[in-house]
């Protein structure tokens, strides 16, 4: 399995910490695992980027990929 680095932003840092590593072969499996490991995440809204590109469908991951989880901010 591929070791993936996950970087969190905004309020997600409170739940997941700043960065964590996890083994997964695709983004759906990765998010599924994180949701199980961090139940507080369940209703959170966030966009997923793989290697600095926002993805909208399940995406294959390879060793060393960087995944970013970015929630919406409303403040102004």
């Amino acid at each position: 399995m591929m070791s993936i680095t996950i970087k969190s932003y905004g309020s997600l840092v409170d739940v997941l910490g700043d960065t964590l590593t996890h083994k997964a072969t695709n983004t759906d499996a990765l998010i599924d695992d994180i949701n199980k490991a961090f139940p507080k995440l369940k209703n959170s809204s966030f966009v997923i980027a793989v290697n600095n590109t926002v993805i909208k469908t399940n995406t294959q991951l390879k060793q060393g990929d960087q995944v970013a989880l970015m929630p919406p901010y409303s403040g102004g």
Partner: protein
Amino acid sequence: MKLEERYARHYGLRDFGPQAQEKLQRGSILVIGAGGLGCPVLQYLTASGVGKIGIVDNDRISLSNLHRQILYDSTQIGEYKAQVASDRLKLLNPLVNIQTYILYISPENAIELIEGYDIVIDCTDNFSTRYLLSDICMLLDKPLIFGAIFEYEGQVAIFNKADERGNQTTYRDLFPTPPNPLDSPDCNESGVLGVLPGVIGVLQATEALKLLTGVGNPLVNKLMIINIKDYNTVIVDISPKQRVSDSFAPSSLAEFEDFDYAVHCGIKGNNVPSISSQEFLTIQDSSKVLILDVRNTHEFPKLQCKHIQIPLSQLSDSLQQIDKKEIIVVCQEGKRSQAAAQMLTEKLGTSYSIRNLEGGLSAMTL
């Protein structure tokens, strides 16, 4: 000539010069929100000599604004931000045509407001207006410069502007539907480092100058996130692959005009009864009433009356702490408490009397 003196450092700037300055003077920009982001955006765009600048804001200045909203001073508490900003900006640069709109932007007035401008800048502080702006800018094909902040982090992006491949994106290409208000409080109530909207607002103004002049590479179809604690910065590409048809966005101007963004963002739906700050003061010490503060524990001012505090995000798991039938829910601005009151009404049923403190604690200190 005075014009040449005022803009001398633009005229003498490599790749900029009088040609780019002329483009700024022919340009028009509508700034939605004259708060933390809006203040630096308005100041720099006015100083830079953009031809026409519109200011849309219906809020009044409050003391807690002043640590970041640097167009305003301590003698102006209670005055309309749009008016004070307009007066200041006209002094800063009388050559700029400043238009003042003291109103909330809504589906009823947005089309008329936006049509007269080249570019829209989102300096708002709530999701319902952000989705409204994203939708109407897409429908009117106006570039939208987005900025948003959270604690020490900020986001900047440009939507509705074609990149070199002809692709355009909207805010809904990032976040197709609004977050659940129970999980992502809509209020600009949590703490923020005063300089953060300054940093992000200046970046939004920079992107506006780049769009108008064609100088540099603007953040078209890109989202930049900056953390000012460590300057960790990331820029991610956004693609328009999936269209917004599955996100319940209005697909025509007629649909837009009938769209209720408060309902769409889950901050309005049921009619949660509210209580005014005056009435709250008269019954806050009643032993029959449970005062429930749904703010996070680090927020100020602390409530002086007897109360319990359960942050909104933990409320659904903490219902056993509610031991009275009459409940008044409070927060800073009245939005989180409204969401909480709505949720409590659904979970606890009609045998409870649940009311929301209208306008929150902010309304009481004004």
